[in-house]
């Protein structure tokens, strides 16, 4: 499982140092494995929350039919690398844009609020840009932070404290219910209205305050988001490939860049990403899957080692969907953790003073070559 770099490095160490390095690596490996798993779980919960909101504002729902709200984009500003806001909901009747940021866990909530604050402040300058993205005049932008309903009081309190023009939605995933959160007792409705902590449409406020249930629950209207953990995207891609192979739509040994691109494109159609953005994501995913020994590339056909012109071979077992799922996640987590552990173990031993200076000089030079 060890990488070539690591093997090369460890081979030059004394027996003592070898053991020392392996020991650190093992400890770090365990820590990273847990962290990577947690990262994937957090992103899955995030996706759940985004989909619950999206389900409520899709075509034909109560909010769509009564008021004209409709989800139009996922991660609307991801094209410029801006990960703030997961959903753009637009109302053509009133030219109102609602930007929703979903946050399942409250960790880093202060940082999140600061980020949103910055985003809100700069959005006045960006309004032309937003109008271009939507292809429509925008008269009013409303900002929403959607969290688990258990955390909504804390969040709404912080927002009030910071006097931010930010609306709080509380989500109960188990009830598939979304509610507008108002700090009754702490802030008068009039003040909340003026400060943009409730929506401009009072009937909509009333409906949302009473709570709206999503017919689709948390089912995945979107299977993934552009910035979601790669493991989630990769699992979806591989399951799709498995399905296509079984249905004779592609052959196991004839998968290529274009197949991956098309699977991504179908899903990311709902974002602002253009062809070249999606290409970049596809290349990044193939590269990651290669390192994690999920795909291997055929020999380069062209001189420039162009991934786009090569065939991909799936290295993991695809005898069943279950195998595909298990092996994709397993390889992703284990090899990711191993690489990080190796890197950090080398850094730690290098800074520990256990390796003579002269030797460090040589290894460093070699790495640069």
């Amino acid at each position: 499982m060890s990488s070539d770099n690591y093997n090369e490095f460890i081979n030059k160490l004394t027996k003592d140092n070898k053991e020392y390095l392996e020991d650190i690596k093992e400890k770090k490996y365990k820590i990273h494995k847990v962290r990577i798993k947690e990262g994937i779980e957090t992103d899955k919960n995030h996706l759940m929350l985004v989909n619950l909101c999206a389900n409520l504002f899709q075509y034909g729902t109560y909010f769509n039919e009564k008021y004209g709200y409709r989800v139009v984009l996922i991660e609307p500003f991801i094209e410029e690398g801006d990960k703030n806001f997961d959903l753009a909901i637009f109302n053509k009747n009133t030219n109102t844009l609602i930007l929703v940021e979903c946050k399942y866990s409250l960790s880093n909530i202060s940082k999140k609020l600061n980020d949103i604050e910055k985003a809100i402040k700069s959005s006045n300058e960006k309004i032309k840009k937003y109008e271009n993205i939507l292809g429509n005049k925008i008269d009013n932008i409303e900002y929403v932070l959607c969290t688990d309903s258990n955390d909504s009081i804390e969040v709404a309190d912080k927002i009030l404290e910071k006097n931010m023009p930010l609306i709080t939605w509380g989500c109960s995933l188990s009830k598939s219910e979304l509610k507008l959160f108002i700090m009754k007792g702490k802030e008068e409705h009039g003040s909340a209205y003026i400060s943009h902590r409730v929506h401009s449409n009072e009937d909509f406020n009333k409906d949302l305050y009473e709570g709206a249930k999503s017919l689709g629950g948390t089912t995945n209207l979107f299977k993934f988001l552009p910035s979601i953990n790669t493991a989630i995207i990769l699992t979806e891609i591989n399951m799709t490939i498995k399905e296509m192979i079984e249905k004779d739509e592609i052959k196991k040994n004839e998968i290529d860049f274009i197949n991956i691109y098309h699977i991504l494109e179908k899903e990311l159609n709902y974002s602002t990403l253009n062809e070249s953005d999606i290409e970049k994501i596809a290349l990044r995913i193939i590269e990651k899957a290669k390192i994690k020994e999920i795909y291997e590339l055929s020999d380069a056909i062209s001189d420039d080692n162009n991934v786009k012109k090569q065939k991909l071979n799936i290295k993991i077992s695809i005898t069943s969907g279950k195998k595909v799922k298990e092996k994709t996640e397993e390889n992703y987590i284990e090899l990711n953790a191993a690489r990080r552990a190796e890197k950090e173990a080398i850094e730690e031993i290098e800074s520990s003073g256990r390796i003579p200076d002269l030797y460090r000089f040589f290894t460093r030079e070699k790495k640069e070559n």
Partner: protein, 367 residues
């Protein structure tokens, strides 16, 4: 025994009349199969499934004669079916006198693994309703035979040792009571029930979409009761089939002044559980899905006072994937394309086994 009907052109009605007049002896069965309306629009398309190997199709007007080979250790047996494709309801009816083993070897085997089709499961609720209907209609109706099973994963636990897996074949004149007792005491759900209807005849209904006319073929009234039973059950089943057939995921354009966005919209189908589910029952249900070749992936589960599970799901047999949501009270399912609906018929069968009293409903928006 093989069903032999003279080769000529029939309408569905004239075919049924021919059968009635042909002095059949032995068991006569009708099997109902689901045809995904997005894959099979017409009879010809469905018949395409059978055009391979040694299968033989002979046209008889609205009816198609199908001959398949059942391969056994020491013999190859020809098995005959007469097929009628009901374009209005998108179901295939197969008429046969084949025995269970021959059917399993041929038609069931093909249908279970083919894309776009599955047998139409007759669940516990439908069997119960039919039983009540027959009890009310015929004073002396008896259940003289049934088969039933209990799986430790069923929500129907029974009073005695619910963790034991058991199957039963029951013969006895008190079947009507025994079915209730088997459910109450041993958590057993019937798979096949034989109704002994007074002087008219004996009829079996099996959960894999099969109706069998066991005896009494010489009376017209007996035939009428047989078809009445089929119609009664089908009416019920077509309700859930229609809800499932309506579920979809489509891309709907949204126009702003200068742009068009193409966005998905989903129409789910929903099953309400008969009681509130706990964590343990959820795990059991997930195990049941797993045992029935459904693999959950990209799964997220939120615990707390109540739970929510959101997941993608892959049908290992039909190779279809879709999305589901489960919480304490219900299960919600959406497709990504309408070509996968047979997987829904399959998963609904698992849900019905898990919670026989659960109720399937369509898209009524709650506000």
């Amino acid at each position: 025994m093989d069903l032999t009907i003279p080769l000529k052109n029939y309408s569905h009605d004239s075919f049924l009349k021919e059968i009635r007049l042909s002095e059949i002896t032995g068991i006569f069965s009708v099997i109902c199969f689901y045809a995904n309306p997005n894959i099979f629009f017409k009879k010809e398309e469905f018949l395409g499934l059978f055009r391979y190997g040694n299968n033989k199709l002979e046209n008889m007007g609205e009816i198609e004669k199908l001959t398949m080979n059942a391969y056994y250790f020491n013999e190859i047996k020809e098995v005959t079916y007469y097929l009628y494709f009901d374009e209005e309801n998108n179901i295939l009816l197969a008429y046969t006198q084949a025995n269970k083993s021959d059917m399993d070897q041929t038609l069931y085997r093909l249908i279970k693994r083919s894309i776009g089709t599955y047998y139409l499961p007759i669940n516990f609720t439908a069997l119960l309703k039919l039983t009540n209907y027959l009890v009310n209609r015929f004073d002396k109706m008896k259940i003289t035979y049934f088969t039933a099973l209990h799986h430790p994963k069923f929500k129907t636990r029974g009073m005695h040792r619910p963790d034991i897996r058991r199957t039963i074949i029951y013969y006895g004149d008190d079947g009507l009571k025994a079915i209730d007792e088997m459910k109450k005491y041993y958590g057993m759900l019937p798979r096949t029930i034989e109704y002994d209807v007074e002087e008219y005849g004996k009829y079996r209904v099996n959960n894999e979409g099969r109706f069998s006319f066991m005896s009494g073929h010489d009376s017209i009234s007996s035939w009428e009761i047989f078809y009445d039973i089929i119609n009664y059950v089908l009416e019920d089943i077509l309700i859930y089939k229609k809800i499932i057939d309506k579920s979809e995921y489509k891309i709907i354009p949204y126009r702003t002044d200068e742009k068009i966005f193409y966005l998905p919209a989903s129409t789910p189908w929903i099953v309400d559980f008969s009681i509130e589910l706990g964590d343990e029952e959820l795990d059991t249900f997930i195990d049941m899905l797993d045992n029935n070749d459904f693999t959950l992936y990209n799964t997220s589960k939120i615990y707390g006072d109540s739970f929510t599970l959101s997941s993608m799901i892959y049908d290992e047999v039909k190779n279809n994937k879709f999305s589901l949501h489960i919480d304490n009270n219900k299960i919600i399912i959406i497709p990504y394309e309408r070509k996968i609906l047979e997987s829904f018929i399959k998963i609904y069968e698992v849900i019905s086994d898990f919670d026989p009293e659960s109720i399937l409903r369509s898209d009524i928006y709650e506000q």
